[in-house]
Amino acid sequence: MNFDFSEEQLALKDEARKFLAAKCPPDRVRKLMDEDSPGFDPELWAQVAEQGWLGAAIPEEHGGLGLGYLELCCIAEELGRAVAPVPFASTVYFFAEALLRAGSAEQKAKYLPKVVTGELIGTIASAEQAGAVSVANISAEVSGGKLTGVKLPVTDGAVAHLAVVLAKEGGKPTLYIVDLNGPGVTREAVNTIDRSREAARVEFKDAPVERLGEVGDGLALFEAINDRAAVLIAFEQVGGSDMCLEMAKNYALERFAFGRAIGGYQAIKHRLADMYAKNVLARGNAYYGAWALNSDAPELPIAAAGARISACDAYWFAAKENVQVHGGMGFTWEIDAHLHYRRSRQLALVAGSARNWKHRLVSMLERRNAA
């Protein structure tokens, strides 16, 4: 039994934490939200690329470090802890994974090296309206190599260069790569609950596309990519949850009321104990997801669902109770609690709602029981 990260992986995580503490302090995240934001932090993005993180799990033949997914999970946890305002998830977990999963040799060679260097920001465009991604909920249509339709919301859609778009061709769901700076594409940033992670409305009118994978495979590929992203996002959530617990604990130790530290009151400390318990469960489930992702195990869809459901629960609980423990200060712009409150929701939606994942999980359990 070796259900833990290796010394080298933990050392990488430690380095990532130190790096982000220096380069991405919370006031920098808040400042980005304050101003007329460019949608992400380009300086941090360049530094992240320099670290090689974008290519951590991308094979060396495509310019990556070819380390593996366990290393990427370690980086993800630290990005989540730091609430990093960069299009990392969109570019690495979704766009690059879509290429690795479904791209031709030519497509991989063309795009992945640029992902690694940070010059290519990618994203995925699946949703069009409220409700889960499904065949019925997709209207975007490709005909004669041209895409028409509207995608909303597209995370990082205003800053990305390329998007993997889920659309239909002759009624069959299919994935396409679309140049967002190309003809027939108009996009505008939309206001969101987490302003540190930009999102856009993207409209396509006869926009030229490049097909990714086979016609009709779009939904299955999308789900396979989403499974992989869900594990990596779970690590961001676990990192965020632990940070919330740490913030709440530190505040409970330094804030005095009625003559003593509020952390001495059971109403506070039991809440923190519950946070800790949820974080431990989320970490256990995330580790299983990491194992399944890294070993490309057949259990990956179930492991991803477990990781996601547990992480969504833990981060939401930790984020909202962290605000609560901070009292009135927790509701102010200057205290960082709201960064996690926002991000916990953003991450809990970006790969599909936990509610929907619960249904998926039970469907998979039904199939496994029947087998």
Binding site: M1, N2, E366, N369
Partner: protein
Amino acid sequence: MDFNDTPEEAEYRAKVRAWLEENAPRGVKGASLGDEDESQMDACKAWQAKKAAAGYAQIRWPKEWGGGGGTTIQSVIFAQEESRMGVQLGGPFAIGLGMCIPTVMATADDETKKRFVGPAVRGETIWCQLFSEPAGGSDVAAIRTRAIKDESSVDANGDFDWVVNGQKIWTSGAHYADYGIVLVRTDPDAVKHKGLTMFWIDMKSPGVECKTIHQMSGARGFNEVFFTDVRIKDSQRLGALHDGWNVSIITLMNERASVGGGGGARGGGAIKALQVAQKIRDENGDPLSNNSTVREKIAEHYVRAEGLRFTGMRSLTALSQGKTPGPEQSVTKLVQAAGMQDLADFMVDLQDQAGIIRDPSLAVENADFQEMFLGSPGGRIAGGTDEILRNIIAERVLGLPGEIRVDKSMPFKDLPTGR
């Protein structure tokens, strides 16, 4: 990351498996606490003796004390394989070997250790732990059972009698135990934690009376134990006079050191819950497993149980690498006990009106969930209440301040009792 044994572990597992194949009793029902009959106790004792002879009874203990001279991970592997074979016969010995005998080994002289350790390992004697009292559950140091020295009993060797009066409660297995370790108050003028002393006691001593407690579930697994002028020799003392609190910490640390075999079946009770929901029809004749709310609940139970299972695996990994498991294990009982009650409530609710039926021949799943419904409140209390466990996590893991105490600065006898 992998779930594989190391080569050494695999070799040990194969050896254990072969031994179990050859020796393990099949189809023998274990003794469930308070519900055991003589033949079940005999089966437990026979199996314990067999394991002891082969060095599998206390794998981690040194061979000179009847153990196997092995490692913690080996004891976990044995427990996993034993459980896989469906052999569950260790219950009556768990408290003695897990808590009492380690306390004896840490505090007693060689003669006493020789007298007690071997027979306990072989299952010839059964021990119970007599700490809790009616006025001291979570506050276990608030012990009132009083031991008074009988000055007239001092013999030529300087040994003498303590005369013990009082009451213990929640004592698992006291009704069949041969011996116990008992914490009593020897100095009521000292502050609470400084006036306690630990002794071993023969449960057949005159003046010891056990009365089983009728639990809300109907079972009778633990006892009230009354002490009326019970004489205990000073030579039965474990540790120094008035140092019983520190000795009890040795006992309780051994309790917490026990690590599970990797956290139970996949998905805990959620898989069974799904199977049950597939069989029950809703008002439209559709299986309840098609209902959104039902599915979401099942998913939540599954993920919680899996989270615990994987947390157990993290601890096992530490053990396998010869390290001490981290504090993550501290959430297990808190999460499990509350989860079991939630699952039971959900499962009887699924059954609608039939959820009240506890008759195994008529109820869904032989009334397993009705039993769980009635038994699960105890899980949230026994071995540390939810509230105490949260205090422990908050104070020892997170480092938050302890409670404001009024019992550390005045003699025990002056503490308010609320009566």
